[in-house]
Symmetry: C2
Subunit: 99 residues, 2 copies
């Protein structure tokens, strides 16, 4: 299982609109093949910064099947107007789940 | 519930030693008041980059009770020799758990 961590900085004043947009967009991820969970978190220290934590069955489910697809374009249309800058996206593998 | 996200870049060649150290150090977090979960993940794109995902009951459980304590010093002694640079630490609050 891959955990995608996407860091998104939102324009000042656009936080509520972004949150509404990402809530709507979550239905796209729910329907995406190989997408297992979808969580949005907001930074305490930098309230314009959000992180999407998205579990994918495989790396390719995100990078090959989803990214660039029509579903991805629909998702981006819902939220990218609120981006301050391009998101930074990284994929991670589990090293240790201690407790 | 607060999720701390700590990004740690490890010196090249020190990955295995860091992983052993953080596994040992996880016992310190297990014993820390208010610490609910402790996960370590490794970047696919940048294999020297790790992220600690640590749940705390409150922000203060991490920032006031844990950070700077003897337990924290013990934890840092176990892993900081392998750091390439100072970790970047951020705390996040849940905005949306869609599925």
């Amino acid at each position: 299982m891959i955990l995608e961590i996407a860091q998104i900085d939102v324009r000042q004043g656009a936080e509520a609109a972004f949150e509404a947009g990402i809530r709507e967009a979550s239905a796209i991820f729910r329907a995406a093949k190989g997408c297992r969970s979808f969580t949005v978190r907001r930074s305490v220290e930098k309230p314009q910064r959000y992180r999407l934590l998205i579990e994918w069955e495989t790396l390719e489910a995100h990078t090959e099947d989803f990214t660039g697809s029509q579903a991805w374009k629909d998702y981006r249309a819902m939220v990218s107007p609120y981006f301050e800058s391009p998101p930074s996206v990284e994929h991670t593998e589990l090293t240790l789940q201690a407790f």
